[in-house]
Symmetry: C2
Subunit: 347 residues, 2 copies
């Protein structure tokens, strides 16, 4: 593979061969969205044909690139993190940067170890999934001038923290409104961990939808827990044991639904005839469970991509258009919700 | 965090504090299995308490460590690769090494790009999942003296290629014997891609079990395809269209089963009453599908761990006990297989 003698020459050569301007080549190299698809394709073809090696993300970088972007996720046991990783990896694919991945299982000891590895090694920047908003980790990264972006934070974020999320409030509201439109009135919601902002926002959306419909929020229908199958199971059992159980459940995430379905099956109840269920995330299991799950899609792969694009700009010391980006959630209708049928409701 | 002044002193200090020998500390640091659990715990506690930073994997390394192990997987869309990544990440957790992850989607262009990134950057070693056995990539890594381990190869491996796999032949045989023991005689098998050694070995195990039972292998019951949901669906439809369909299916992997189940549901057939189905892998979806899947478990997390342990030894220029390690597959019984019932069999 030919190594270009100097970066400026290379970009100029690519621009000439592709018949575009130098800034356009630069935008393609930095994975910026503001390039027409046809133009991007032509530039990428030239890059490919000439066997150019892309230079690292940061033409104007203050120091030499390490070639590494560090990413920290809490676990790989469900597909939530994996989808975000897919987006990050895809966005880095056409750069020379490699993705260094760590899993911390929400353990502060492992989080500390990750920080030590990053600080003892070299890194161009970091992407932290579900990091605590007000945390020493973020302060430490800032002190070491390591650019970072947070995806789906815990707790509160300061205004100076670059972050990516989804419109969780709107998603929670949409899920609840969908069930209301089917005639349901006793609608339960299952939360994730209380310090997860995304979970709290979803529940706030649920409350807003009920309030708009003039339906009081009943505390017994708002269930606490974690984003886990176990929580889905336990809270569904608790809901079914109420004197007046709900006719529909808004799950905190798709993984919880596996437990929700299990609890309903154990009691001989069918989805959606006896209970409507709606999930959140639209990870692959949503179409694998039976019946296939109606859910609120959050664009996890795209969140990973956008976080990476933001990080590449921070690394290149370019300004961000916005410190906080929220991508849209959408309703994906499958087979787990049915109109409310008074015959099936107890009490 | 205190940085030890010299590696030998550090290990000696840890040994003294933990009351063990220096070689024992070294074994713990290198994630070697030959340490008693209590001893390992004590040594790790001392390491933790003193805030020692572990030195990189390679006390005797010929060159300075880069702090990076590179891993290449074909995709993240199913849990097969993710489970292996989990094992690698866990094994690296207590070293100072970071895991650089790349996804190549079996594209030779992306594989080439990965190789360029690894060669242009720095790496201590590489783990390649589903790499071609006879390939330029492996030759190039060898030429650059980059240690590597292959997990589940394609094609054939030379005797000099360190690799980890599972006992796929035995697994295919066990799956088929389980169905035979339930009285099934017309048993179909769905393959993965023909150049995947693991898939070919599973089908060979299927043939061996049938032959031992004196049952001829019928070519129409051996179906070709990929390790995908789509293949599961298509091949099950084809099997059901046979004049004399099977009463049981050995799927090539758990992902295929999602398609197998879908095709059966479409025809109004129930699992296991109308058709017994057995999977391969035991990824999380095996217990999420309905009915829960009886499957052959391959220890994917452990395969990742073992590959990492082997790689750390290669990095440290220690000899391997064996170039090829195969971990045991086991039968996990759930609800998708039932005794053969002559009333249900057509023809």
């Amino acid at each position: 593979m030919r190594q270009p003698s100097s970066k400026r020459n290379t970009i100029a050569e690519i621009a000439a061969k592709a018949g575009v301007s130098i800034p356009t080549v630069s935008r393609v190299l930095n994975n910026r969205p503001d390039v027409a698809p046809g133009t991007r394709k032509r530039v990428e073809q030239v890059i490919e044909e000439c066997g150019f090696t892309r230079n690292r993300a940061t033409p104007s970088s203050r120091k030499e690139s390490s070639g590494i972007v560090d990413m920290r996720v809490t676990d790989l046991a469900n597909m939530y993190s994996v989808e975000i990783i897919r987006g990050v990896e895809e966005a880095l694919e056409r750069t020379e940067l490699r993705l260094a991945l760590s899993v911390t299982r929400s353990s502060s000891q492992l989080e500390q170890r990750w920080l030590n590895k990053v600080l003892n090694g070299t890194t161009d920047g970091a992407i932290l999934v579900l990091a605590r908003g007000q945390s020493q980790d973020l302060d430490t990264l800032r002190q070491h001038k390591i650019p970072f972006v947070v995806v789906d934070h815990r707790g509160e974020l300061g205004p100076d923290v670059p972050s990516v999320g989804a419109t969780n409030w709107l998603g929670g509201r949409m899920a609840t409104e969908h069930l209301l439109s089917l005639g349901h009135r006793r609608i339960a919601v299952i939360r994730g961990h209380a310090d997860l902002r995304c979970s709290r926002d979803r529940v706030a959306g649920y409350r807003a939808a009920l309030e708009d419909a003039g339906i009081p929020v009943e505390p017994e229908l708002v269930r606490r827990g974690e984003f886990s199958q176990q929580t889905g199971y336990e809270q569904t059992c608790a809901l079914l044991d109420l004197p007046n159980p709900p006719t529909a459940i808004v799950a905190g995430c798709d993984i919880q639904v596996v437990g929700v379905y299990g609890a309903l099956r154990e009691r001989g109840l069918s989805v959606p005839n006896d209970m409507s269920v709606i999930g959140f995330d639209d990870v692959p299991i949503a179409s694998i469970v039976t019946p296939a799950l109606t859910t609120i899609r959050q664009p996890l792969v795209e969140m990973g991509r956008v976080a990476t694009t933001m990080l590449l700009r921070l690394i290149a010391e370019e300004p961000l258009d916005s410190m906080r980006v929220e991508l849209t959630t959408t309703l994906v209708e499958r087979d787990s919700c049915a109109p409310f049928c008074p015959l099936n409701a107890k009490g």
